[in-house]
């Protein structure tokens, strides 16, 4: 079990209101990702759920039980920190067993649970090492192991992958997704990387300045962003925005076109421009293009696309793939 409900949760640090009021329901077993730019209050919201911060007003309940005033240990949640927060002087085994020891569990039971977690996370051969002797990914797994053994009603992750290098990040992303598939425990995952959000979430919560901008499945957000902010935030490379006359032509204050939704031509098209850098990835080519109307946009072409720095190019948005936003930023 692990359904979590936030009712009009507010948080202010002194004078500064960081979370002006959030209502949110997380169903049991869901993988929910909080995403948003840096400083938007993701960590704060997570810490409020964890009980590491007190709410200024509002209520939090877990499995229907009000835990607004309960301490972090009583809420039955487990958290994986960005810095892993491993205990550096304890072996991996001791690290993982620590919450069990604190719960005064029998040695035998501890041992059983630790080895079970180690098996799941492929940590068997490292159990007697200290965290300092592990690689970043292994440390991350230990942190998760420490969370798993408690069999919490939900896992909280605060940017758990941001300290890893790109390749490892991809692997760990998949591992965590697989873990969720096998454990089926509620997970709340904070990131500001929209790729992580898209690939991992059942449900994405987009935050901005402490407010929820949109809640929905990744594809919902990708295909029907509620406003310009969400549209620009979700999808990689980012959506290109064009304003002014050219947008008005399509009946909007701003139009958004995703990089892969351009038709590229070396002869003619709606938006003429000059190729800046062309990034050839083998599988795709990303073109950085300076449009003649002054906008700087990115277009993605499948496979090899034979243009070079300085070439002229013409772009036309694909039919039906234009996102339209009003002056207030909301989707039309």
């Amino acid at each position: 079990m692990g359904s979590i409900t936030l009712k009009n949760v507010r948080k202010a640090f002194g004078e500064v209101e960081v979370i002006p009021g959030v209502d949110l329901t997380i169903e049991d077993g869901e993988f929910v990702v909080f995403v948003g730019p840096s400083g938007c209050g993701k960590s704060t919201l997570l810490r409020l759920i964890a009980g590491l911060e007190d709410v200024t007003s509002g209520g939090i309940s877990i499995d229907g039980k009000d835990v607004t005033d309960a301490g972090p240990a009583q809420r039955g949640l487990a958290m994986v920190f960005q810095s892993y927060a491993l205990y550096p002087h304890m072996s991996v085994r001791k690290n993982i067993a620590f919450p069990l020891k604190m719960a005064k569990m029998s040695e035998a039971e501890q041992e059983k649970r630790v080895s079970h977690a180690a098996k799941i996370l492929n940590l068997d051969s490292y159990l007697d090492r200290k965290p300092g002797q592990l690689s970043g990914g292994q440390r991350q797994r230990v942190a998760i192991g420490r969370a798993i053994v408690r069999e919490p009603s939900a896992f909280l992750f605060d940017e758990p992958l941001s300290n890893l290098d790109a390749a490892l990040r991809v692997n760990m992303r998949v591992e965590i997704s697989e873990l969720h598939n096998s454990l089926k425990t509620t997970m709340i995952y904070v990131t500001h990387d929209q790729v992580e959000a898209m690939t991992m979430a059942d449900k994405i919560v987009v935050l901005r300045a402490g407010r929820v901008e949109q809640v929905g499945s990744p594809l919902e957000l990708y295909s029907r962003p509620a406003n310009r902010f969400v549209g620009g935030f979700i999808g990689s490379p980012n959506m290109n925005f064009i304003e002014g006359e050219d947008a008005a032509r399509h009946g909007a204050h701003t139009i958004g076109i995703r990089p892969k939704h351009w038709k590229l031509s070396q002869a003619e098209g709606e938006f003429p421009g000059t190729v800046g850098v062309a990034e050839h990835l083998g599988s795709d080519t990303f073109l950085h293009i300076d449009l003649d109307n002054g906008a700087h946009i990115i277009a993605r072409a499948a496979g090899e696309f034979p243009v070079h720095h300085g070439d002229r190019i013409f772009l036309t948005p694909q039919e039906g793939r234009i996102y339209k936003f009003g002056q207030d930023g909301l989707a039309l």
């Binding site: 964890a50 590491l52 301490g71 972090p72 240990a73 949640l77 487990a78 958290m79 920190f81 960005q82 810095s83 927060a85 491993l86 205990y87 550096p88 002087h89 304890m90 620590f98 919450p99 604190m102 719960a103 420490r146 408690r150």
Partner: protein, 289 residues
């Protein structure tokens, strides 16, 4: 970082410090070693003669010798215990949110600025004096017989004075270490259900291990050389109850003007200090990198 050129430059730049210290160590040490084999009394330079091992044997058979070593040990360990435990407690306290933290810190570090003879004078005359000391006044206030600290608990009194001087040092190192403790670790432990006490023993204390090591290492170096506090307060007495090795040598050199004997004592002290040093570096040095 490591071309041949930089390596040879490095050798050149290390040289002055090393050479200076070598001279500073070897010249007096060699002279001391030489003197330690002489019958040489400063008050009677005419009758200086070769003594062989006599000075060593004499120093070694001095009934005060083992007492002095024992006292040295107690002094060092006593001060270390008080400063480390006290330092941890005070560091924990002043790390908490308090009003006037800056001033509190100033007050706490102040004893470190007091030169040892002055510290000893203040404690001897104004705090621990059996008739005029503040402690005597306190005792009288409670209707108790004032304690004559330096007569009844000589070594303990000296430990208190020395510990007072070194407490700021320990406190500050431990405080710095405490402040570098990762907040997320603490929160993780809190989420793991650890109580405040468990957090202290399982996290804070191990985290401070390195700082405690530094305190022990540096203080030991200085504590082995304590003598001014003894000289001013008890003169090593009553009996030899507060004579440490350094003071014993001091007595030979400065009261008896027995250069040969003091030199032998000095050599013995150097050897013992190096034992301690090697032991410390082994036990503690690992923690230091």
């Amino acid at each position: 970082m490591a071309t041949r050129q930089t390596q040879s430059l490095a050798r050149l730049m290390r040289a002055p410090a090393i050479i200076l210290l070598l001279i500073w160590m070897i010249v007096p040490l060699a002279m001391t070693l030489y003197y330690s084999f002489l019958n040489y009394n400063l008050l009677n330079p005419a009758s200086t003669s070769w003594a062989g091992w006599f000075n060593y044997q004499y120093f070694y058979t001095d009934p005060a010798f083992f007492e002095a070593i024992w006292n040295t040990l107690i002094l060092v360990l006593g001060v270390l215990c008080i400063t480390v435990v006290g330092g941890i407690l005070i560091a924990l306290l002043i790390d908490k949110p308090i009003f006037g933290q800056g001033i509190v810190r100033i007050l706490v570090i102040s004893p470190f600025f007091v030169m040892p003879p002055v510290a000893a004078l203040i404690w001897k005359n104004m705090i621990m004096h059996p008739s005029y000391g503040v402690l005597a006044d306190v005792a009288k206030f409670f209707g108790l017989q004032p304690v004559d600290w330096f007569a009844q608990f000589p070594l303990f009194s000296i430990i208190v004075i020395v510990a007072w001087q070194w407490l700021p040092f320990a406190t500050l190192i431990l405080l710095t270490s405490l402040q570098s403790l990762d907040g997320e670790q603490m929160e993780a432990a809190e989420m793991d259900g650890a109580s405040a006490l468990s957090r202290f023993f399982y996290l804070t204390l191990p985290h401070m291990a390195r700082a405690i090591t530094v305190v022990i290492l540096i203080q030991t170096i200085f504590l082995l050389g304590v003598y001014a506090e003894i000289l001013v307060t008890t003169n090593g007495g009553p009996g030899n109850a507060s004579t440490n090795l350094t003071y014993l040598i001091y007595r030979a050199a400065r009261l008896n003007f027995d250069i040969g004997g003091a030199a032998a004592g000095g050599i013995i002290a150097v050897i013992l200090a190096n034992f301690v040093a090697i032991f410390l570096m082994r036990a503690v040095g690992k923690n230091l990198d």
